[in-house]
């Protein structure tokens, strides 16, 4: 989260440089290995903290985080396999959902009018792809540091 904040995505609109949103990858991991109660609350808290460091309302990020978590949670149950490809795909769709909701709210509710195509192709899509590509490494990292704790609590996917 700190690393993501360091390369705060919200300040890179219109730039070619896109840093992967590691928080989303973390949320996707949580949705796979934690139960829905803990995962839902944790995703809200994580994105609330993330949002606290942005110029926008942290509750907005909390809301988007929960939506992303829900998307990821549902996709994990639909795919029901645990490999690199599924990690990448689910992270990509969750990240796409995250940026889509963020864009829609920022565009329509806050009245900050970005150019659609510019946002999609120069920010939303590259950021989603970057997060998806980095997700196997994030998963591996989380598995190394907390594999036993998380896996024992929820075997939802593997079951």
């Amino acid at each position: 989260m700190i690393i993501s904040l360091m390369f705060n995505n919200d300040s890179h609109f219109g730039h070619f440089f896109v840093f992967p949103n590691l928080v989303i990858a973390g949320i996707v991991y949580i949705s796979a290995y934690l139960d829905v109660y803990s995962g839902g609350i944790m995703s809200y808290i994580l994105f609330y903290i993330y949002g606290s460091m942005t110029p926008l309302d942290p509750t907005l990020f909390g809301f988007i985080g929960v939506v992303s978590y829900a998307v990821s949670y549902i996709l994990w149950r639909k795919i029901s396999s645990d490999n690199f490809l599924s990690e990448i795909l689910i992270t990509f769709f969750s990240a796409s959902g995250y940026y889509l909701v963020l864009f829609l709210i920022v565009y329509y509710r806050l009245g900050i009018h970005f150019i659609y195509l510019n946002f999609i192709f120069s920010y939303g899509l590259p950021a989603s792809i970057a997060a998806a590509l980095i997700s196997p490494a994030i998963f591996l990292f989380f598995k190394k540091i907390g594999y036993k704790n998380f896996l024992k609590r929820n075997q939802a996917i593997l079951d």
Binding site: V36, G40, Y48
Partner: protein
């Protein structure tokens, strides 16, 4: 089986509820009811400190990278400036050469105006080094009216005589060559004699009687007799005088002036 379906249903309900709650909190926040603003402020300030510390290396690396990029641009600019400097240096050398040439030509012009005989200006195209080449080549020949036997002078003094005149070039023997013979005068005592080269970089002043006055260090000039050289042109200095009772003439050694072989532009006296 029913419990599993119920579990899935329960999860979906929970997800739906939590989405509704988070959306409601956001909507309330938009309407001015800030739930948890204290927490967000606290998180913001506390994480900011961490963020600042963690961001420091990134900031430093960005500065280093920026400096590196600047360095690259400076390097590229330096290469361009170096190439420009080379061109300017080359031009400067050319201008220096022109300056030297201009000075030499000016002195040659002064000499030309001071010499009574008809003269032809010429440039030495091949410099003889004393002891190696006993002749010089100039870029004027018979087409310019030069013929064998003409005297060659420069601003510094007598250079030699033309030994062969080609159509567009001439070969000149220096005054230190044994074949080069001409009339000279001691500028200090007025004693006259005939200068002839030794061939080893020196000359001898011949036919000076023992009774005549010639001293070591005297300046030797052309006398003008014989009509080859204009009188009063520098030849050299007396470096040795030997008198013997049984000999009629003195043995006088003359060292030519310093820049005998350094002149580029000369005048050929006709």
């Amino acid at each position: 089986m029913r419990r599993l379906n119920f579990k899935k249903y329960r999860d979906a309900v929970f997800l739906f509820i939590i989405i509704i709650i988070s959306a409601s909190i956001y909507i309330l926040s938009l309407n001015g009811i800030k739930i948890g603003s204290f927490f967000s402020d606290f998180i913001s300030y506390s994480v900011y400190e961490v963020y600042t510390v963690v961001d420091y290396p990134v900031d430093i690396s960005e500065k280093i990278y920026g400096n590196y990029i600047d360095l690259l641009s400076v390097k590229a600019e330096n290469n361009v400036l170096k190439s420009k400097l080379k061109i300017i240096s080359y031009k400067l050398d050319k201008y220096r050469e022109y300056k030297i040439e201009n000075r030499k030509l000016k002195t040659l012009l002064i000499l030309k105006n001071s010499v009574g005989n008809k003269t032809v200006p010429a440039a030495v195209v091949l410099h003889g080094i004393e002891g190696w080449f006993h002749s010089l080549y100039i870029n004027k020949g018979a087409k310019s009216g030069i013929k064998a036997g003409d005297g060659v002078i420069s601003y510094d003094g007598v250079v030699g005589r033309v030994i062969h005149a080609g159509a567009r070039y001439s070969r000149v023997i220096p005054i230190t060559d044994p074949k080069c013979v001409f009339s000279v005068i001691d500028a200090d005592t007025g004693t006259m004699g005939i200068a002839q080269g030794f061939g080893d970089g020196y000359m001898k002043m011949r036919f000076v009687f023992n009774s005549q006055q010639v001293h070591k260090g005297d300046t030797i000039l052309t006398s003008g007799l014989g009509g080859v050289f204009t009188p009063g042109i520098n030849v050299g200095k007396v470096t040795a005088v030997t008198k013997k009772n049984y000999d009629i003439f003195q043995k006088i050694t003359v060292t030519p002036y310093k820049n005998l072989f350094n002149g580029k532009y000369v005048l050929v006296e006709k």
